[in-house]
Symmetry: C2
Subunit: 336 residues, 2 copies
DNA sequence: CTGAAAGCGCTTACAG
DNA sequence: CTGAAAGCGCTTACAG
């Protein structure tokens, strides 16, 4: 910038004012400065600016595992909204290396703090209460999607309206004549979220006068590997015939469930209807294509980023609505 | 840091030296400082450090579209290697918003320069020659994966050894008795890369004494939408029976091709063998599972990042090897 | 073994 | 309308 000032024959203060579009500089001076900018290929030093201003215009995004087909769209949403607002995004993935995930998060956190990000968007319960408090104490805003039960006050949340989503799912199945619906659910899931999708599922069943049976529940320890969904479904199929449809924690589990049904010689949807949650790409190309409760991932990212920027104290909590995509994996009950 | 100095009763200079593990401070002084670090939850201000040191220890990654299932793994590889090296990563996706992609890239570029990243990793030809030169002029290292024909000197490259990869593909098909192999290729692809995978495919065919026929080539304008692969295959199937296998630009196209074959009442692999390139997740769950030339995406990211750090002038070019994954979409020729 | 001082590239009252 | 000066939080010769 000192080169600029020299070239334009003015002081640093004036250059700074013109570059930032502040009033009070003659046309002529401004023109000389802009000409110098072009000639010297000047690009402001954002580092110096950040130090001086005490704001980096940078936000961090923290997700469990970038490779999970769920997150890229979410991050895209965050990025898109961020760019619109002139912010940069540092993406941090927990499982970036395979070692102890807690210590990875710890390091990511320190990195983010020392880089003085203005805010942090994260998906789910990735940090401890103490860690979140530390961020808040450092005046770093925090918004979390699908927030855990306990969050320090000051944290903003983006919720998915599974109440209405599960309503759509059960409504769809019910209208196809399904009365006995199984569930593949993740063990300990309620440890992670404030309100679980399963509870909403049960509520929706109840509202339709349909039963929720423990014996029709398949449990999985992890929901990011189709093999586990397949195994859970295989166990559940000992009771094949007792139920006519199964709702799965997510699409990965649903794809696994379809494989298990196929292994057992059952046809989807004639013998069994299968519903997933997420709508990842693979769900549209499996056979049959999966009926699934689509989560608006991009939108979730945008909403999360905007919640971070929001000044008002009113936006403590934003809500996003899922949307049922009906494809080939669901059909009339007892069509076989 | 001034708080630290006060708390420990020493000068800033001493604090700095101890924090950075430099020699020449008494045990006792160091201990006092570290105690203060703990008490005050001190975290170094990386912004100030960057300004002073003239290095940000940050690298940018530029990809065409984050949502493309290809890139997340690549980015993960970059991140993983970066963290190991104590670097942060700013991820930039071209298609983050839908507007004119050139101007998006232009803005991303300015952002990266003004943030003074130490280096940039990008996939493919995302920037113009002039833009790349500008980076180099700003002393920002550049490495590009699948580099275009023309790159300014100083740019490092990561190549995929499609020569050997296509060798594996053709070898596999040939050993199954296929002699007439079709191809689905992207129009203008050679405008983007220094050496195209198609050329390697043709070489591999020639080496096996197999013909390359223009009439067995299906063209697509874009390779990230299965619908286009499906349409290309549909056109190609006017000549069904003339060829017994098809190799596709990538898995997206291959999945589309399988759909088209299915539409036409052909069975895969009995009537037609299909091979993709990439090995995205969906390829493992389509029916039949896709035989594909897997690209080591994570490794590519790691190699790219490391190439950036490499001091020596020798590593102008790194090479990564693909690996054929045989699944259900290929079978003996004429098995029908 | 330790400290005072300069400087990285900016912005912003404060004067003029 | 414009400039001189201080300061953001660090590091690093240079003295002692």
């Amino acid at each position: 910038m000192v080169d600029l000032a020299t070239a334009a024959g003015v002081s640093l203060a004036t250059v700074s004012r013109v570059l930032n579009g502040q009033p009070g500089a003659s046309e002529a001076t401004a023109a000389r400065i802009w000409r110098a900018v072009d000639q010297l290929h000047y690009e402001v030093n954002h580092i110096a600016k950040s130090l001086r201003m005490g704001a980096t215009h940078t936000v961090g995004v923290l997700v469990h595992d970038l490779a999970n087909p769920f997150y890229p769209d979410f991050i895209k949403g965050v990025e898109s909204a961020a760019h619109r607002a002139g912010l940069s995004v540092i993406v941090c993935s927990g499982a970036a290396d395979e070692s102890d995930s807690t210590s990875v998060m710890q390091r990511q956190l320190q990195m983010l703090i020392s880089r003085r990000v203005d805010g942090l968007v994260m998906y789910g319960r990735l940090l401890s209460l103490a860690q979140v408090r530390r961020l808040l104490r450092s005046h770093i805003g925090v918004v979390v999607v699908e927030p855990p039960k306990r969050t320090p006050r000051g944290v903003r949340a983006v919720d998915i309206d599974f109440r209405e989503g599960m309503e759509q799912v059960v409504d769809h199945l019910s209208s196809l004549g399904h009365r006995r619906i199984a569930l593949i659910r993740q063990r300990w899931h309620e440890e992670w979220v404030a309100r679980s999708r399963y509870r909403d599922f049960q509520d929706a069943l109840a509202e339709h006068g349909l039963p929720y049976r423990k014996k029709w529940v398949g449990w999985v320890d992890d929901v990011n590997d189709t093999a586990l969904g397949r195994a859970a479904m295989r166990r559940l199929l000992k009771r094949a015939g007792e139920f006519t449809a199964v709702v799965c924690h997510n699409d990965m589990m649903a794809i696994g469930a379809m494989q298990a049904a196929h292994d057992a010689g059952l046809r989807v949807p004639e013998d069994l209807s299968v519903v997933g949650i997420d709508d990842i790409f693979a769900s549209s190309v499996v056979e049959p294509p999966l009926t699934t409760l689509a989560l608006p991932r991009m939108e979730m990212g945008e909403v999360a980023l905007n919640a971070l920027r929001e000044e008002s104290e009113t936006v403590r909590r934003a809500v996003v609505r899922p949307n049922l995509v009906v494809r080939g994996s669901t059909g009339p009950a007892g069509a076989a």
